[in-house]
Structures are given as C-alpha cells and as structure tokens.
Symmetry: C2
Subunit: 241 residues, 2 copies
C-alpha cells in the first residue's frame, strides 16, 4: 500500500518532474548476450503477424511493422549474441487485455528486455461507445501490470513507448484533444516511475511531418505506414544502444 | 537474329570478361522521383506476401523478406520522392514462370527500376524429378525475358541478383556442385549483357558465414532467415545508390 501511495504522489508530481529519456544516451538499454527481447502492444506492434508462429526471430511471427524491421537490424548487427526476439502484440488490445494474457505472453517467456506500446485503444475505443474505460483506469491498469512485471521479473529491462496520433488524418479529429494527450503523459509517467527507457513516439511523427505530410507516415492517424514503421524501428534501435 | 547471335557470343566469352558490379559505385542505379520500383523473383522475393494486396508500399503486400526491409529504408529515407514499390515475387517460380505472367506482373506496371532474383528453382526443381529444365533453358529463357523487357521498356533500369545457396544446410548438399555454380554464372552474364547492376548474393552469404554459422543466415541453405534478409536488403540498398 505504501508503494501504491508513492506511485500516486509521483504521478501527481507530473511529467515535468520525471527524467526525460528522449535522447537516450545513458538511458539506452544495454542488451546482454542470449537476451530474450519481447515486444508487447496493440495492432501497431502486432503488424499482422502470423499468430500461429510463436518461435522467436521468424519474420512471419514478427509481423510487418516496426518489430520486424528492428529485429532484422538487431539480428544482422549482432549475429553472435543469440538474441531471441518475440512479438506478442495483439490488434485492438488495451492495457487490461495485456493483463489478461500477461502470464502466458510475458512472464512465462522470461524476457530480458520488454518493450510495451499501449494506450491508443484505451482512449480511441471509448469514442464509439463500446468501451467505458477512463484515463484513471488506463493509469491504474498500467501501474498494476508493471508492478506485477517488476515483482515477477526483478531484473527486467523496460522500454515504454508513448501512444501517439496524428491529428487531421481519418480516425483522428479535434475531438481527440486534449483528452488523448493525457494518455501520452501517463505512458511517460510510467516510464519515469518504473525506470524504463521512454520512446517519445509523438515527437517522431511530429518531426517527420516536416519532411512529408502526416498521411505519408500514418495512413489513418493511428497506424504507421511502412515509412512510419521504419521511423519507429530507428527510434527503438537507438533506445537499444 | 543478329542480336541473338551477339548474346550467344557474349555468353561464350564467359563471366570473366564482363564488368564486375560487385562494388557498385558508378554502377549503382540512380532512382528518379516518382519511380516505380518492381521486385521480381521466387519465394525469396515473395516473402509470404499477401497476394491479394497489389497496391504499392503496403507492408502486407511487400512480404516478410528483403523487399519489405529495403522498401522501408527507401520510403523513410526519401519521403519526397514518391516511390511506388511493388513486390511480385511468387514462391516456386523459375524463369519460364516469370515469362508466363510478365505482361501483367511487369510490363503493365511500367517499372522504372526492375530487380530480378531468379534461378535457384531452375536448378533445385530438377533434383526431385519434377522438372526437366536445363542450364541452357535457364539461360535462353532469361535472355528472352530480358530482351522482351528491354524492347517494351527501353529506359528501364535493371538489377539482376545472383541465385545463391549455402552448402551443408538441409536442402543443399554436395550433389548441387559444380552444376549449381553455372546458374550463378549465367545470372552474372545476364547482368553484363543487359547492362544491369549485378548483386553478388553468393558473396554476401559466404562473407556472413565468417560471423555466424551459415544456418544463422539461411535456415535451409536456400531461404534467408530474417538476418539473411537484412544482409540482402543492405546490398540492394547500396545498389540503389
């Protein structure tokens, strides 16, 4: 209970009080040999992966998104390190749905490094009336998930990525704001509290919009195009030292 | 007919007399804005792509292999160039099967740049008794395909990749040699005759075997692992300047 109170206070202190890991550097994750690297999240992580292929490093099991692009980089760059890379993202997932499958799809895999990108559906799915979760539920579910993870895998290295959206493109209109921004801030708070490396996805897409229209990087405002996936893979690559 | 005789004589001159484009440099393909970039070949190119997705730049339509990895690099690096990248590789294909679908799957797409990786099945499928094609058939089919291509698309920029195999891994045993090497040489001859940029895939995999066992780069001696696909994408990336 004391620990929970500490979390709440940290959150109240706000994102400004938390270390920024945007530039990585000393905050980059050092990945040891024989590491199990697990990617968790929603459709953006899923990337239409073949759900029946559960072995690591298989391109069909890694999907067509940033996980696959990043995995190819890591496996080619470090052939002697014996990395085992898993994708367990599932399209449509919100935090509570990660929790429902966390033992099988995270704890039992004993990841050395765990990357989580979750949150856009926790907000988005409230807009069609089929989901009634709140920002507080997102925050509390996320804290519980990460507490469980740290308790069961004390040595785990965490990467927490920011949910993002590009306004003005299909799914994303002005009604998303400012409410959606709060979900981004919660993810950053989680990274601070749980000493995770934070990946500022929103900034990635905001910066890219200076080089080509937003729709070049995400076709519906939420899901990256292939170019957008490459942006993301580059950011994760830097986060992994 | 004269042209055909020229080709035959060129081939008789052997690979040694042809320019080596291994190091690219001046031989790298310059890709103009709005280029249509088409990848053709067999399963290695196919990469389990979704055959019903025919639009360019869609990661599901690009598959899980080197084409997808390379496309992500190009689309991220050159957001203003408007590249349209297509994968039309089909698993199991030999040269004559490319020819059967060439109008629809090549000519009609009006590629600015065409990359072809074909030949391993022209040899491999003779070994199970289900295909009786010879080296001469491979060579003649390939010449006819490239003549047709140059005639119908005179400005096309060609990339021809070398079929490759890694001996001692599953499908590839000593009975492949020296016969299979001749198929590699024919692909290189094609590059010389048709002034294509040549990608020496065999060298890629031979060199990689010094960093990790061959099976790390190709799980069955023929099909690349994800790490092997990244090797290939890097080589194509250099060939594309």
């Amino acid at each position: 209970m004391k620990r929970r109170i500490f979390f709440k206070n940290s959150i109240l202190a706000g994102a400004a009080g938390l270390a920024s890991a945007d530039a990585f550097g000393a905050n980059a994750v050092k990945v040891p040999s024989d590491a199990v690297i697990l990617f968790q999240g929603d459709s953006i992580t899923d990337g239409h992966r073949h759900k029946d292929i559960l072995t690591p490093n298989d391109p069909r099991g890694l999907g067509n998104g940033y996980v696959s692009l990043l995995a190819a980089d890591l496996l080619r760059k470090y052939p002697a390190r014996g990395f085992k890379i898993f994708n367990r993202g599932i399209s449509g997932n919100k935090v509570f749905q990660l929790a429902e499958r966390w033992k099988e799809d995270c704890i039992d895999l004993k990841p050395t490094v765990l990357s989580i990108l979750i949150g856009v559906n926790d907000f988005w799915h409230t807009k069609n009336g089929n989901y009634s979760g709140t920002l507080d539920k997102y925050r509390n579910d996320y804290i519980n998930l990460l507490e469980q993870t740290r308790n069961e895998l004390p040595e785990i290295k965490l990467i927490i990525a920011e949910p993002f959206a590009v306004p003005g493109i299909r799914a994303v209109d002005h009604t998303w704001y400012p409410a959606f921004d709060e979900y981004r801030f919660v993810a950053k708070e989680m990274a601070g509290i749980f000493k995770a490396t934070f990946i500022p996805c929103q900034k990635l897409f905001d910066r890219a919009a200076k080089k080509a229209p937003g729709v070049y990087w995400t076709h519906d405002g939420v899901h990256p195009t292939h170019a957008g996936s490459r942006l993301m893979a580059d950011a994760w690559g830097k986060a992994l030292g």
